[in-house]
């Protein structure tokens, strides 16, 4: 269920502090008054915009403190991911530093209407891993010529971040066997032929959210160029 109450999202929970700083603070003009809704937001929403403000702070202000916070959370995980993917300790450390430096450099390209911060960092780490294996840059899909917008649609941002959180919960609820299989696929332990299409993951809603965000982006841009 989609809940667009930005005020509720940013009120009352210390974890939301970074949400209140970034682009998410611009609540829709017609949003309802703060007091008309309960003040305690459910934890799902509280976490759903995690790290966005830090990435925005890097993009806009080259904020080193925000970078350090992201680094503390993601650097050990990126390194662990690379080790699981077959890199030794030294290579994983070097590659991780490279990934985190790329995060800094590409912060302005991050689009919260299309990915969570964790997803975005995953794609950087994965690409870096493949480049190392293949010794040349892997083909990436063409960037959308218009994306990301200066002010992404708040509805899209919240909905996508919420769907990402739900996906993470769904992943936790999978049987141990299914989960291990999916992790193996992402660590590169399965050849293409061994990857089953039926992952058991409920991806339908997040797919349609992303699709919707892409359509809205396309629509807004075609309006803008008219």
């Amino acid at each position: 269920m989609l809940d667009l109450d930005v005020h509720n999202l940013t009120a009352g929970n210390p974890r939301d502090a970074h949400c209140a700083q970034g682009r998410l603070e611009s609540a829709p003009a017609d949003a309802e008054p703060l007091m008309s809704k309960p003040l305690t937001p459910p934890p799902l929403k509280a976490q759903s915009c995690e790290w966005i403000a830090e990435v925005m702070a890097i993009a806009q202000d080259r904020d080193q403190a925000a970078f350090a916070a992201l680094f503390r959370h993601f650097a050990p995980r990126v390194k662990a991911f690379l080790i699981k993917s077959g890199a030794d300790e030294a290579l994983a450390e070097e590659c991780m530093q490279d990934v985190m430096a790329t995060l800094w450099r590409k912060a302005h390209l991050f689009d919260p209407a299309r990915a969570s911060v964790a997803t975005w960092i995953f794609t950087i780490a994965r690409n870096r891993k493949i480049d190392l294996l293949r010794k040349y840059a892997r083909p990436e899909p063409e960037d959308l010529p218009w994306g990301p917008e200066a002010e992404p649609d708040q509805e899209d941002v919240l909905a996508l971040q919420q769907e990402s959180r739900k996906l993470a919960e769904a992943l936790k609820r999978l049987s141990q066997k299914q989960r291990v299989l999916i992790e193996k696929a992402y660590f590169g332990d399965l050849s293409h032929g061994e990857i089953a299409t039926e992952t058991g993951l409920p991806l339908g809603t997040i797919k349609s959210r992303i699709r919707l965000a892409l359509e809205r982006l396309r629509h807004n841009m075609s309006q803008a160029t008219k």
């Binding site: 650097a75 662990a80 899909p141 299409t197």
Partner: protein
């Protein structure tokens, strides 16, 4: 945006998201995704699964000077950054999406074709140990040269269209073939047909084909 009718199956998108496809297939998938919002949305969803896995990783211990080293890396990069312009936008008259153009270093006009008979031409783009990518040119109205599929063949239409026993395939459409597939693709009249094709040289993905069939049946 082209109206894409034949989309890539999920198992190839997971393979792409996970980074486990042979390079030639990566190229076709990235090119297809550049032409299809549907494929892009599905790929982003599989990327999101990767994001969840990353976020749930146990923390690996970092080197002591990890953060400061990364910060100096950032400072070094900042110096060279301005020098490397990033050009990802397609030229107005180009038909090759960025991943393909970047790989071969040119657009259609400058492709170095080799004739393969009956007016058809091909250009090998990359030849890896496990897969090959090539461009194929079929004159308008002409049948594709007879060829047998060994292993998996992934065909993406870039210009014009062809028809076979199953359907019509136009720009952005993808067709997966295998050695059991017996089809005679014919380029539509009016415009020469240009396709990007990846083939795995060896019969490596034996488990793949039944799964692709499953995917199609589910749709």
């Amino acid at each position: 945006m082209t109206e894409v009718k034949h989309h890539i199956s999920d198992d190839f998108l997971i393979g792409y998201a996970a980074g486990s496809l042979p390079a030639a297939f990566d190229l076709v998938v990235a090119t297809h995704v550049s032409l299809s919002d549907d494929a892009r949305a599905r790929l982003h969803a599989f990327d999101a699964v990767g994001g969840c896995i990353l976020d749930e990783m146990d923390e690996a211990p970092l080197a002591q000077d990890s953060l400061s080293k990364t910060l100096s890396l950032i400072n070094e990069n900042a110096a060279s950054e301005a020098a490397s312009p990033q050009n990802q936008t397609r030229p107005e008259d180009g038909i090759f999406p960025a991943p393909l153009r970047d790989m071969i270093g040119c657009d259609l006009a400058d492709v170095k074709w080799r004739p393969i008979g009956m007016g058809c031409k091909q250009a090998i783009i990359s030849e890896g140990k496990d897969a090959t990518a090539r461009l194929l040119f079929i004159p308008a109205g002409q049948a594709m040269p007879r060829h047998t599929h060994r292993g998996t063949e992934m065909t993406l239409v870039l210009q014009g269209a062809y028809r076979d026993e199953t359907d019509r395939f136009g720009r952005g459409d993808i067709e997966i073939g295998d050695e059991t597939m017996n089809h005679t693709p014919v380029a539509e009249a009016g415009e020469d047909c240009i396709c990007l094709i990846a083939t795995d040289a060896r019969l490596k993905f034996e488990g793949l084909l039944p799964r692709i069939a499953q995917t199609f049946l589910r749709i």
